[in-house]
Every structure is written in C-alpha cells, then in structure tokens.
C-alpha cells in the first residue's frame, strides 16, 4: 500500500507526512471528532466518540500490562 509515485512526490513537496508516519493519536482526533457526519441510509457511522475512546484506553492499558 504505497502512493503512486507522482503523488508521493507531491506530498513530499508540500511537507506532508506519508500516512504511515502520521501519529495515530493525531489522526484519530480528526477522524473521530472531525469529518463530515452524514445521516440517512447509513449502515453504520461512528458517532459516539466517547465510547470509542474509552475502548482505546482500555486496550492500551491492556497492551501495557502484557508487556
């Protein structure tokens, strides 16, 4: 899963980080609290950010405990 060449070059020129290097937590701030929320014939949409965040916290704690 890589960018097609020209696009990668364009990203580099703009100083954008490739998707692999963006901090996940910064990304989740935007993907879970930002972006257009649309309603209608949805099968599903992530609306309840709190629930999601709590899950992630629990998960991270469990990851730490395993180590």
């Amino acid at each position: 899963m890589t960018y097609p060449e020209p696009r990668g070059a364009m990203l580099a020129e703009e100083g954008r980080l490739p998707a692999e290097r963006v901090a996940l937590v910064d990304l989740l701030d935007r993907l879970l609290a930002g972006g257009v929320v649309v309603s209608g014939d949805l099968v599903l949409s992530i609306a309840d950010i709190d629930l999601v965040r709590i899950s992630i916290h629990a998960l991270i704690t469990s990851i730490r405990d395993d180590e």
Binding site: Y3, G34, V38, D41, L42, L44, S45, L59
Partner: protein, 260 residues
Amino acid sequence: MTADAGTYLYVVARDSGAPSPEGLAGVAGTPLRAIARSGLVAYVSTVPLAEFGEEPLQRSMEDLDWLDATARAHHRVVEAVAVAVPAVPVRLVTVYSGDEQVSGLLEDRHDDFCQALDRITGRQEWGVKVYADPAERVEPDAAQEGGGGASGPGAAYLRKRQAGLRSREEAWRRASARAERVHDRLASVAVAGRRHRAQDPQLSGRKEWMILNGAYLVDEERHAEFVRTVDELRGEGGELELTGPWAPYSFAALDEGGEP
C-alpha cells in the same frame, strides 16, 4: 447491492480535475471507486459487512492494529484527493447500504457540500499542541508553611499536602490561561479555530499536560504568518508542536450536520 456488502464513503470533492482513484486502495485493501452526481464526486469502496457491520465493528474498534490500519487507509485516500483539489473528508467508518444512497446524498446535500467546499478552498488545517510541565509548579508560600497552628508531623503533613494541591491548582490555572491566549492568538491568524480534547498521556506517550490540542484553518497566503506566530508563541515558553498541513478534517461540517 447485496446485503453482505456496504459502500464506505471517504471524501467528497467537486467533479472537476479530481484525480482518478486508479490503483488506490481503501480500507481493508478494497479498491477505490468514484461516484459522480450533481457536479460532485464521492470516493468510495465496497466493504464486506462481515468486517464493517455494526457488530463486528464494535469488536474491531477495540483492536488497535485494526484501528491503526483502517484510520491510515482512510487518511491515505483523503490525502490523495485533498492534495490535488479542495475536498471534504468524511468521518471514519461511514458505511452506506449501497452506491445509490451515496448518489442520493450528493444530490440531496449538494448545496451543503458546495458550501463546505467553498469554506475550505485555498485553506489548510494545521494542528498546534501545547504542553506544560506539571513539575514546574508554583512554589508554596514560605510564610504560610512556617505559620503557626497545630504542630506535629500529622498537621505538618496535611499543611504540606494542601500547599502542594494549591500549587498544582495554581499551575493548572496558569497553564489554562496560557492555552487560552495561545488559542486566541492562533485563531486570529486563521479563518477558524477549534479545540480538540486533550490527548490522553497514554496515547500521546507524553507525561506533560497537554493544555491545548488546537486545529486551525489557515488561508494558504497566511501560512508563513501562521508559522511565524507559532514560533513567537514558542519563544514565550511552554512547548508547542505544529502538525500539518492536514486535509480540513476539523472543519468539515455540513451546515446542519450536528457538528460543534
């Protein structure tokens, strides 16, 4: 569309000169497609509901590897489009029952999408996080500490503890006031500013207080001024972290979309 597949929506742009999704993969490696209607184009892929249905998703969202891969795949599509043309990102995991529903959305909300696109055209989102060191606390008042009242180790301990709490509160108050100032100053150079919730130290991996997790929509012509302002604020103390440019995630809202 069969009931075991859904249409995952990533991003919406104007149907003009947008890059072809050729060769790009979306979430779960599904091939990207474009749905055009009413002068708009939606980037989508067909996803299996065995993975993106409500029930499996509740489990998947607990799986950090799955979330990581899905978020990055979503972001990759948004970036590929947004780097070329103004584009409105859609929230993570927005799955329609079929392509017709997405076409319907483009038609029904055409004016709202156009407004949202106008709002972000020629602008980029920047993130600024500010950290404060909780250890850098205000020294407790010496006079108060040596003051009279009950003596003995218990009372001294309590006094010390109270002073510690007070100084921590004071440090927090100062940090909050500074966050407010930094946010106002950055927002004054931006078209719009928004504060995200502070990141949990477990997720950010930093022990310091995150006192500001801001997002700013900045005109491209004012980008240099914005960066200069960040540098100036950095000079006033506290640690500032600049991220971006981002696709305008934090400012993508349809007018009655229920966004703050």
